[in-house]
């Protein structure tokens, strides 16, 4: 018995139209993921402290922003079009561990220190997201 033939013998069950269906399926998934997973390209980081806009900076320039809050100073790093909270006095460090924000609409919030950074620009997918 030819082992090569048995390995791929299932291909005989695929008719030309089936290949077409599979191709359409793959295209459909690619389009869906593009639409759902790619937010607009972000170009601005909006930094808020105590609910008020502290500063709004372009992502094109690498910089460190120090934001004062009730617990201390949070440091926001902007680098290569991405932003993250690199240091924060909050006890659980959720916003620091969230890592880099890349897409428009992404947001990192340090509740204890009342500091947040949100990326905007491009097309914003949602007006707001609540969990």
């Amino acid at each position: 018995m030819n082992s090569h033939e048995t390995t791929f013998s299932f291909l005989r069950d695929l008719k030309p139209g089936d290949w077409l269906t599979l191709l359409a399926g793959v295209l459909c998934i690619i389009l869906l993921s593009n639409k759902v997973w790619n937010g607009g390209i972000a170009d601005t980081a909006v930094v808020r402290s105590g609910g008020k806009v502290f500063s709004s900076v372009p992502l094109s320039r690498d910089q460190l922003i120090e934001v004062p809050g009730p617990l201390g100073t949070s440091i926001i790093t902007i680098e290569k079009g991405k932003a993250r909270i690199s240091s924060d006095p909050s006890p659980r460090q959720y916003c620091v561990r969230q890592g880099w924000l890349e897409q428009s609409g992404e947001i990192a919030i340090c509740l204890p220190n009342e500091v947040s950074v949100e990326l905007t620009g491009g097309q914003k997918k949602y007006d707001s997201l609540n969990y």
Partner: protein
Amino acid sequence: MTASTIKLSTTTEDHHIAKMAAVALGLTVLENAIPSPLPGVKPGLANIITLIVLARFGWRAAVWVSLLRVVAGSLLFGNFLAPGFFLSLSGALCSLAALALAIHLPQRLFGPVTHSVLASFAHITGQMTLIYLWLIPHSGIAYLIPIFATAALVFGTVNGLVAARFMDKDENP
């Protein structure tokens, strides 16, 4: 004392449908033993039976087998009329609707794999719609659509190939 018996008259088709639904039910039980990485992502092995019934006995029989499997399966797992039951039902109904259209495609070009893939896409469409309208009315679930769609394509293809293989064996034993 004479035992009273109720005699139901059944046709050969009824027997076929009952047998196939029983096999589908068996596959559903088997499948529930397989751990899934994400709730809702499962192979849907019972649909292999639906595909075979569709090819052999037609769409009406496939509807019977599919719906019997959903109802009897939910009784078996104890979730009849619970959310999981309605999710299965909405998936099954959408799949059957897709199959009703798919069987009109030229048979020379489109086989069970096409039927299976179209049905599995319809299945997740039905389920996601119900989830959005009833259980989680939040646009955030859209993030999961590509994952479910990929699972639908993969498992739809595999199920279609398995069904095709069984039907090959039927034709030339």
